[in-house]
Amino acid sequence: MTTKIKVLIFEDRAEDALILKETLSQQHIEIAGIASSYTEGIALLNSVDFDIALLDIFVKGKPEGIQFANEIEDDKPFIFITSSIEATVFEEAKDTNPHNYLIKPYNPLELLFAIELAIEKSAAQEGAFSQKIPVHHNDAIFIKKNKALVKIDLKNINYISVDGQYCNMYTDEQPFLLHTSLTQLIKEFPETQFIRANRNLIVNTDKIKIVYPDDNLIVLTNGEKVSLSRRYKAAFFKNYRIFK
């Protein structure tokens, strides 16, 4: 199942928050929550799930955004938003290692680009999206599809098969073309979760319903069938005890 990217907003100006909300929804991005103060922000951090945080540096005239940034988990990317372009403001913000800055005012493309860049940076895969390379971060894959940024949790992937020099990723909903090689993906993905079924395909073990070793066939939970080649059978079964 594909999911929208979830964004946590830290912004005290209602008008600015509204613009953000509208722009994000146009870009098919979900709002995880909006906090207009430090305490509200902390409460949100503990209660909602999000992929990226957008923080206004100055909340109520104080650099609360910087303070709040320190509370965010290390693996979650965040972006500082400010209307100032004075270097002094950023000097203070620098220590929190933000993944990007966004200068107000911004247009929807700029917002989206800032988010993309932040995600790329947190996964240390700068420039990936523009080359349609999937970004793998926090047990999920982020890809750009039709100008929209989508997130696919690894657990929702059925299997990935080679398509020419790229790969096709199959979920229950739709396939995604990934501009990357299968070999590259195997390297990145958790070893036990994705196993090679044949030369051109890796399968998500969580999605396997039945395996027919004699028929060299794997049936997935959604009923799809993938072939299990003899060459990879041994390696495939190494992780399983077989009851005959």
Binding site: S83, A87, Q131
Partner: protein
């Protein structure tokens, strides 16, 4: 000044008969007429009646000034120089110069040369009937006298006497000398006449020394004529005057004369008394001479020491003065600049505060609402089909959007420009996708491009990355694109292309608009070319773009052909350097 100036005429009277030499020293000063002549001739003295005060540059002046100051050697050098200058044809000056030269030589006892000088002076003086000429006769007479040519001397003195001026202070000396000439020539009548006249004049001027001399010489005259009574009377008078005059030489002469006279009279006790007194004075003179000599030596040594010390002190003084002056100059400069800088500093600080206030107004009170306005107008223009706008409404909203967009850019430019010039602009270079950045910039121009029916073709490979600061790069691109649109004709084409080469990427923004003559183009003066709607921009934008691209380590070039269009080439680094 003249009165103390000369002390240099010596007249000797030798009393042959009694083998006694009477030394007769008498001051001979400038005559009034001669003084007057110098005053009239010398421009320096004429200016300043307290003449000879200062050594002036004028050589003529120096010649008589130095002479009056008893610096006869220096005076002589100048005199010779002036006289050898054959261009000097001013008779009066020549007369004066020759006279003074004569006097110098006389003091040096170079009688023949002195005589020559005076004769020349007299010759010149006669040409214009110098009023002081007769004084020179007297001096010439003295020379003959000194040379013991008494008849010649008497002759010259008589010439002097023929035209002498009464009440002249030198008269009594000259008369005395004339008398002495006759005495030597044994013409006692004339001698007596002149000596007595001189005696009277000395009485008149209360010149004790002169009286002493006159008395002694008259005494000698009488004594030579064997008028012993009269002679002794005058000798004793002479002794009295000599004692009063405190002139040891005269006194000695008087005593010696009297001693000889008394001895001849066989009054040995008196003679002995005079002789003893004479010896005593002789000793005291010797002592005085010795002491004077020692004193002179001492003085000389002291003077030399003093001079050396003075020289050293002078050097030191000059050194310190120079140092002090330099320090003073430096100090005054420093304090001047310090004050100036402090004043400027205060002004700048005030200006800075004002500027900062202005900034917050610009950023928060202007920037944001204008953008909101822009964004809202954008939404209206792009709202889906349902409530289609009328053509008129569309146009006016589009124009409003354009206005808001321009204002927004202007504000942004101003902000960036000011911060950039203060080096306070946010600057964070990172790896950026060029096509993405260009798309973000283009986004705001979509309504304008549609409105003007422009065709914007962007062809940038999605895999091109540049290493730049996103904010400043976008500002630069905004300005360039804004210009390209502004200067494009309706239905024009704008091409945006990117090419990579090694570690750099060149982005070209090409329009087919108005263009301009690159010859009239300088970085400081853009603008002035009206755009296709007739308005002109400030030129700040392009200038700012140029600077920001350079700050990013790139280059910014503009090429243009009037009515063909403009191409802006921006070259950026693709990798971190």
């Amino acid at each position: 000044m003249f009165l103390n100036s000369s002390k240099w005429i010596y007249v000797y009277c030798c009393c042959f008969l009694i083998s006694i030499t009477v030394v007769f020293a008498q001051k001979q000063e400038y005559s009034e007429e001669f003084k007057k002549e110098i005053l009239e001739t010398c421009p320096q003295c004429a200016q300043d009646t307290s003449v000879f005060q200062k050594a002036r540059k004028d050589k003529f002046h120096q010649s008589h000034y130095l002479f009056s100051k008893n610096e006869i050697d220096s005076s002589y050098t100048i005199l010779t120089e002036l006289l050898s200058n054959t261009h000097n044809k001013e008779v009066r000056k020549l007369y004066i110069l020759n006279t003074i030269r004569g006097r110098v030589l006389l003091r040096k006892k170079l009688f023949d040369e002195a005589k020559q000088s005076f004769e020349t002076a007299i010759k010149i003086g006669k040409q214009y009937q110098s009023p002081s000429i007769n004084n020179q006769y007297a001096l010439l007479g003295q020379i003959y006298f000194e040379q013991l040519k008494f008849s010649k001397a008497a002759e010259v003195f008589e010439t002097w006497k023929a035209s002498y001026v009464k009440n002249e202070h030198n008269n009594r000396i000259n008369l005395h000398n004339l008398g002495l000439c006759y005495l030597h020539l044994e013409q006692y009548d004339k001698a007596q006449e002149n000596l007595l006249e001189s005696y009277r004049l000395n009485q008149k001027y209360k010149d004790t020394l002169g009286l002493a001399r006159s008395s002694l010489d008259i005494a000698n005259l009488y004594y030579q004529q064997y008028k012993d009574e009269l002679a002794i009377d005058y000798f004793e008078k002479g002794l009295g005057y000599a004692k009063k005059a405190h002139d040891l030489e005269i006194l000695q002469n008087a005593l010696l004369n009297l001693a000889v006279v008394e001895e001849n009279r066989k009054d040995f006790s008196k003679a002995l008394k005079y002789r003893k007194e004479y010896e005593k004075i002789k000793d005291s003179i010797w002592n005085k001479d010795q002491i004077w000599k020692f004193a002179q030596n001492d003085k000389e040594t002291a003077r030399q020491l003093n001079e050396e010390q003075l020289k050293a002190e002078k050097k030191e003084k000059i050194f310190f003065i120079v140092i002090a002056l330099l320090a003073l100059i430096l100090l005054s400069f420093l304090s001047y600049f310090y004050l100036k800088i402090r004043k400027q500093h205060t002004i700048i600080r005030e200006l800075n505060t004002t500027k900062n206030k202005l900034f917050s107004i610009l950023t928060h009170d202007l920037k944001t609402p204008i953008h909101t306005l822009k964004a809202k107008l954008y939404t209206i223009l792009h709202q889906p089909g349902k409530n289609k706008l009328h053509e008129k409404q569309r146009t006016s909203i589009s124009e409003s959007y354009d206005l808001a967009k321009n204002t927004s850019l202007l504000i942004d430019n101003t902000l960036h420009w000011t911060l950039q010039s203060q080096n306070k602009l946010l600057f964070h270079q990172q790896k950026l996708n060029l096509s993405s950045i260009v798309a973000q910039v283009e986004y705001d121009y979509i309504p304008i491009i549609e409105e003007n029916k422009l065709a914007l073709h962007t062809d940038i490979d999605a895999t091109i990355f540049v290493f730049a600061d996103g904010n400043s790069l976008k500002i630069a691109l905004r300005n360039v694109l804004d210009n390209a649109i502004k200067f494009s004709f309706t239905e024009g084409i704008i091409n945006i292309k990117a090419t990579t080469e090694n570690n750099s990427c060149t982005l070209k923004i090409i329009d087919e608009g108005v263009g301009f003559d690159t010859n009239n183009f300088s970085r400081q003066n853009f603008s002035s070319t009206p755009d296709t709607k007739g308005s002109t921009s400030t030129g700040l934008g392009i200038q700012l773009s140029h600077e920001l691209i350079e700050k990013n380590g790139g280059s910014f070039e503009i090429s243009s052909v009037p009515n063909k269009g403009t191409t802006v080439s921006i070259t950026l680094q693709t990798n971190k350097t």
